[in-house]
């Protein structure tokens, strides 16, 4: 008899898990429950439709509903799971009753951290998540003159950029001293902030959100620096693991507030796996668990969970978290630790920074690339990096993430070989220049 694998959640992790489970055991009955109308789209693309870089929302869909049905994945749309019982091995589904499972994969994603301020129930507060709602909000943006983005999180940076592109007067309210302070340093965030100001944005750093003001619909955002009148507020607070169902079922949660899993994505309960924003995984440098990673992490974790739930063998690795994005006129990115984060945790480190170029100095379109490397003192293994430029940031972040994972040192990077081809690479690789600067700093 075919085993039944139930997946709760239809985001990147859930769809990755369902596809991998079907791939590992084609005979398995794979059922996905999602409370939303759609699965298999890229919510990460929503800010770029709002910014008009992407012409329509349809492009964000990866596959049709028919395609999933043809793969043998039974997706129950707009269907809410009320709970699950790991002893009885059942999932309680609204409208369907108790559904038995052989293997369960929990991919319940995230919720935005509550703002905890008065007026949080007003209309006109936009939480970017669901594509259907985003389509409706996009029409609202056509009539919006002034918007406030709450918090300079990764999504907040993307939304400020998108709203500026759209010609909307945009205010950013953030309690930290600069944008994305949890991941970036001021020398990296500075060019982004300057470009926002040039685009007309008003930046309110070191400013605390105190409330949303309005009568039914928000008309202003109250802050420690005064009220900002607005037509709309985009709430971009931290992503928190949505573990409500799992906690109720007795699954263990760690200090990062995500479900505890092992390298196979197996939870603390037998025959239950989990993946995506609802879990926490160890950081490759510190071995401290972290939560709230990217869509690519969620999808990869889903594939691991799905394969193992179906009886296959796949392992996940501790993460070093390469990241990158377009913000303002710039690309920024990095891996693992910024100077700020390393300083916060008290991790001993040395720093080297250099400014290189993205192409041959004479080639049209050449741009500056600023690279900062962090290494542990002594052996000088790479533990973090930060970059700002206009091209080639993502590829460098991916490369540096592998360098962190494999224990590559600053000595290795200072003598690295690099591609030299005038349209795509300069004689001197900016990463190598930063490593050489770090070594020169130590010598002096």
């Amino acid at each position: 008899m075919a085993q039944r694998i139930v997946v709760i959640g239809g985001g990147a992790a859930g769809i990755g898990a369902a596809g991998a489970a079907k791939g590992a055991d084609p005979a398995a009955d794979v059922i996905v429950y999602t409370e939303f109308e759609d699965v298999g789209y890229s919510p990460c693309g929503i800010p770029y439709v709002h910014g008009k870089e992407i012409p329509d929302f349809q492009r964000l869909f990866l596959a049709t509903k028919e395609a999933y049905a043809q793969q043998g994945i039974d997706i129950h749309y707009e269907t809410r799971v009320a709970g699950f019982d790991t002893s009885a091995k059942t999932v309680s589904v609204e409208g369907e009753g108790d559904v038995p499972y052989d293997k369960l994969i929990v991919c319940t994603g995230f919720n935005y951290a509550p703002t905890g301020v008065p007026g949080a129930d007003l209309g006109g507060l936009y939480y970017v998540k669901n594509i259907r709602q985003a389509m409706d909000w996009d029409k609202v943006l056509d009539k919006t003159r002034t918007a406030v983005v709450v918090e300079a999180s990764p999504l907040g940076l993307e939304m400020v950029t998108a709203l500026c592109h759209r010609g909307i007067e945009t205010h950013l309210v953030d309690p930290d001293a600069w944008a994305l302070a949890v991941a970036t340093d001021p020398d990296i965030a500075g060019p982004v902030q300057d470009s926002w100001v040039q685009a007309g944005a008003k930046l309110h750093f070191n400013t605390t959100l105190q409330g949303f003001v309005g009568d039914g619909t928000v008309r202003a955002v109250a802050t420690s620096a005064g009220e900002i009148p607005c037509d709309l507020a985009v709430v971009c607070t931290k992503k928190q693991s949505n573990t409500e169902l799992a906690r109720a079922a007795g699954l263990r949660v760690g200090s990062a507030d995500g479900l505890i899993v092992d390298e196979q994505m197996q939870t603390s309960a037998p025959d239950v796996w989990a993946a995506g924003d609802c879990i926490e995984v160890p950081h490759s440098v510190t071995n401290i668990p972290i939560q709230g990673l990217s869509g690519s992490h969620a999808y990869a974790q889903g594939k691991v969970a799905g394969t193992n739930a179906a009886g296959g063998q796949r392992r996940y690795q501790p993460v070093s978290v390469p990241w990158g994005m377009v913000a303002g006129d710039w690309m920024i990115g990095g891996v693992s630790f910024s100077e700020t984060l390393a300083t916060a945790l008290g991790i001993p480190h040395v720093v080297g920074t250099a400014e290189g170029i993205s192409r041959a100095r004479y080639y049209p379109g050449v741009e500056k690339v600023r690279v900062k490397l962090l290494a542990e003192p002594g052996p000088l293994r790479l533990i973090g990096a930060q970059m700002v430029g206009r091209e080639g940031i993502k590829e460098r972040a991916d490369f540096l993430a592998m360098a962190v994972r494999t224990g590559i040192t600053i000595h290795d990077l200072a003598t690295m070989e690099n591609v030299y081809s005038p349209p795509i690479g300069a004689l001197n690789e900016p990463i190598a220049l930063a490593a050489q600067a770090l070594l020169a700093g130590l010598r002096s």
Binding site: D176, P186, S255, A256, I260, I288, P289, L341
Partner: protein, 84 residues
């Protein structure tokens, strides 16, 4: 919220604010605003006490907190010598 979660979240927040003070000074940008009320305890007593501990001690405490890091995570075997 469990005590370990509260401790980690609160500790991380104030350690980040204190780090922004330091890094802002290095790069000559506007620092976070001065602490008020209970923030004074965290920023002027807790953070210096945390920083006074050696990294090995801090790391050992963090690793004792409950979490995924205490489950099985196998390090991949790396081949040695030339590839061929």
């Amino acid at each position: 919220m469990s005590f370990s979660r509260w401790l980690r979240a609160t500790s991380e927040h104030y350690l980040m604010v204190a780090a922004q003070e330091k890094v802002a000074a290095k790069y000559h940008v506007t620092p976070p605003r001065p602490p008020r009320g209970a923030e004074v305890f965290w920023l002027r007593i807790y953070v210096p006490a945390y920083r006074a501990l050696p990294w090995r001690v801090r790391s050992a405490v963090m690793r004792r907190l409950p979490g995924s890091h205490r489950r099985t995570w196998t390090k991949g075997e790396k081949p040695r010598g030339p590839a061929i």
